[in-house]
């Protein structure tokens, strides 16, 4: 059996290496992927189309905004599915596990975290909002934000973190994030464009069509950030307690 499992692995390996001989030169600017009109359009026209200096953000949130919407949906799905899988399942009784420590939260740790969390959260906002001009954006900001709550849960315990961020709120915020994203898309559709055609927002906001894209991208990123924050914390809360939402690790 063990030997048998090498066969598909080897077949795949040979196949992939066989294809590698046909690849374009590594790092060559003339490779089809780098030379294609699509890639050149992104590099040459992002500024004109959207006024966003960070091409990755522009491509992520605008050119391929539809992808990113579903990417957010995937995150949301993961949160919902984990909730669905672990909610009300199995043992209801509080089982004390051998690695569970009943000690009070450590003074040094909690105080350090007390200082650290606001900094992390502000940094998260920065990363989210500054995604237009530097690496960053909704996902990164959202993860940082979620991490700040996870840090609270780690240094005190889950109960404390859940008081600050109740589990129902994760679902609501996660939903709202998608609602925000898709809502911006829907709004621009109502204003006469295609779905997610942010430039139509210029009809109701006093900005140029390009700047409408620029600002709508920020809105979209906030939506992404909301969802990711909520779901990251929800994932941690559920996974660390097998869905029982007790004291946690």
């Amino acid at each position: 059996m063990k030997l048998l499992s090498y066969i598909p692995v080897l077949v795949v390996g040979v196949l992939l290496l066989y294809a590698a001989k046909d690849f374009p030169e590594w790092g060559s600017p003339d490779a089809p992927a780098s030379k294609s009109p699509v890639s050149s359009h992104f590099i040459a026209n992002t500024g004109v189309d959207t006024e966003v200096p960070n091409m990755v953000t522009a491509v992520l949130a605008d050119y391929r905004g539809f992808d990113t919407m579903f990417e957010t949906v995937v995150v949301f799905i993961a949160g919902m599915a984990v909730l669905a899988i672990l909610k009300n399942s199995g043992r209801k009784k509080l089982v004390k596990r051998e690695f569970e420590v009943d000690a009070e939260p450590d003074l040094i740790v909690t105080n350090t975290v007390r200082l650290l969390v606001p900094v992390i959260q502000i940094f998260a906002f920065y990363v989210l909002a500054h995604g237009h001009v530097s690496p960053g954006g909704g996902f990164q900001g959202g993860v940082l934000m979620g991490a700040s709550f996870i840090l609270v849960a780690l240094s005190w315990d889950l109960e404390t973190a859940l008081i600050r961020f109740p589990l129902n709120w994760t679902t609501i915020l996660g939903g709202l994030g998608i609602f925000l994203y898709a809502g911006i898309g829907l709004l621009s559709m109502f204003l006469g464009g295609e779905f997610l055609d942010y430039s139509e927002l210029a009809n109701i906001f006093p900005v140029s069509r390009e700047m409408a894209r620029y600002h709508a991208m920020l809105g979209v990123e906030i939506g992404v950030g909301l969802t990711v924050t909520a779901i990251m914390f929800s994932l941690y809360a559920n996974l660390s307690t097998e869905g029982r939402l007790q004291r946690g690790l």
Partner: protein, 519 residues
């Protein structure tokens, strides 16, 4: 309506968010939201079909974000590319979604108490993903949507019992391998063509003559194998029977009819529209190899189905066999085979829906889906069993159900390509299905146990109490979807010419052999 194609997924997407948020305070609200958003989505789908039929080249391109083709190069934005085939399969998905959402009220409340909001959220997103797969014109967006459909699927299955969770894990591992291979294949395509737009890829393959390129060949293999895993083609089928038979009723009703079919649609799409007929059929070995794999697949799946004594498991293996039919129909490479394959995607979705809805009702009333629990069910619930057996007759392929017509085209296809082995295997599995369904009819109809002993006392005595055979149909909210589904099986069969003519319009763009003039 101009944006109808976008409304197809807007309805379920917003519906699912509404379910998640509003469901926290009021669980009852999820069911109407789900039904309404499915109905809205179906309406948008029909609207889109009308739109597709009204334009000259029968395709509607919808560019998200307003990155229109006249002002920007193709592939900059994401395109929804609705041709006749895509919109037909979308309609199937949405129709199944609507019927199952109607059906779901009681089973969801009872099997997953307290989780209704989560269930409906995942349910609606599943339909969103599947409908998106049918319409998207972007190879990478397809990956994202496949994962949307897959993740919701994992959640929907594992929401049930512990067994379901264990089965889901295998599904997850295999599903991830499949999706990742597909993603890798897309990477290979991208490295050679520099675009992700399906139409763009096809244009570049034709323009630059990439048919002989080793990278493209391997890309084809990776994409193909990825999709085959996702559609539970025989050697990769291991996840399907466990997952579907252990899933909650509503989940299996939704997943079983559409998930594998949608992946077959993706294969057809890849073969015809993305890689192109010449590339797929003439410059790869697949036409030589795959029909023989299909033979093995159908035989094995049929034999395994024969060994089952539990309705849902048996049906799951039948799905694996049916997948073999459809894959075979594509790879025997001719016009009729493809018509058969596409039509079978549609009809198989209808009949599998019918069967699983029926199985759900049987489970509810008889408390078991084991064959032994079937005795006397016809007197107890005649309407349910009628619906169930219309589905069964369709799988066997008796006229005038739609299964007959799709099987007819598949057989014709085998004949035109002179793939006798494929035809023989079709006959073989047809006979297996006859055995399977009439064995069930026997169980229902006769007072004889499998070993042959008489259970009753002769003269129609089934050996059951009056209580057990008294007329006791399932609740209307479950029965009506089943009857509607069986009506659809008949109607699609009777009006098959309308569907086939649409498929013929779609296929007329491709240069497929018809095998005319052979004596």
């Amino acid at each position: 309506m101009e944006n109808s194609i976008a409304w197809i997924f807007i309805f379920p997407l917003f519906g699912s968010v509404a379910c998640a948020i509003l469901g926290i305070s009021n669980r009852k609200i999820c069911y109407p939201i789900a039904v309404l958003s499915m109905a809205g989505s179906l309406w948008a789908g029909i609207e889109t079909l009308r739109q597709v039929l009204s334009v000259n080249d029968h395709t509607v391109s919808y560019l998200f974000g307003g990155w229109t083709l006249d002002a920007y190069p193709r592939g900059v934005g994401i395109e929804f590319h609705a041709d006749i085939l895509g919109i037909l399969i979308t309609l199937v998905v949405l129709g199944v979604g609507l019927l199952v959402s109607l059906y779901s009220k009681l089973p969801v409340e009872e099997e997953t108490p307290g989780k209704e909001p989560l269930f409906y959220t995942l349910f609606l997103l599943q339909v969103t993903g599947l409908a998106g797969i049918c319409l998207t014109g972007d190879a990478f967006n397809l990956y994202v949507l496949i994962e949307v459909a897959a993740l919701t699927g994992y959640g929907l299955i594992a929401i049930g019992s512990n067994r379901a969770a264990a089965a889901t894990f295998n599904y997850l591992i295999l599903g991830t391998i499949g999706a990742s291979l597909y993603l890798l294949g897309v990477g290979y395509i991208y490295i050679k063509t520099g675009t992700l737009n399906m139409v763009g890829i096809h244009d570049i393959i034709v323009a630059e003559g990439l048919a002989d390129s080793a990278t493209m060949q391997v890309a084809f293999v990776l994409v193909g194998v990825g999709i085959l895993i996702k559609m539970a083609f025989f050697p990769f089928h291991a996840w399907l029977p466990n997952a579907y038979s252990n899933a909650p009723t509503t989940t299996s009703c939704l997943l079983a009819p559409v998930v594998t079919k949608v992946m077959i649609y993706v294969m057809i799409r890849m073969v015809l529209s993305v890689f192109g007929v010449e590339f797929s059929f003439e410059s790869t070995l697949w036409t030589d190899v795959l029909p023989w794999l299909v033979v093995v697949a159908i035989v094995c799946a049929a034999v395994m189905a024969l060994a089952q004594r539990e309705i849902k498991r048996m049906l799951s293996y039948l799905i694996v066999a049916e997948v073999g039919y459809m894959v075979g129909g594509v790879w025997i490479y001719n016009y009729y085979g493809l018509i058969g394959s596409i039509f079978h995607v549609i009809s198989d979705a209808c009949m599998t829906l019918c069967l699983f809805l029926g199985a759900g009702l049987i489970l509810r009333k008889a408390k078991t889906t084991h064959f032994d629990g079937l005795r006397g069910l016809f007197t107890k619930m005649p309407l349910t069993m009628t619906g169930f057996f219309i589905g069964g007759f369709s799988i066997i392929g008796l006229p005038p159900t739609c299964g007959f017509f799709s099987k007819w085209y598949l057989i014709t296809g085998g004949m035109v390509s002179q793939r006798w082995e494929y035809m023989i295997v079709l006959m073989f599995s047809t006979m297996v299905m006859v055995v399977l369904f009439f064995r069930m009819i026997e169980r229902i109809h006769l007072a004889v146990s499998e070993s042959g002993e008489n259970l009753g006392h002769g003269h129609g005595d089934l050996g059951l109490t009056d209580q057990q055979t008294r007329f006791d149909e399932g609740p209307l909210s479950m029965l009506i979807p089943l009857l509607l589904a069986s009506a659809v099986v008949l109607v699609v069969g009777i009006y098959n010419q309308e569907v086939v003519s649409l498929i013929e319009v779609f296929l007329s763009d491709f240069n497929l052999p018809r095998g005319e003039g052979i004596k």
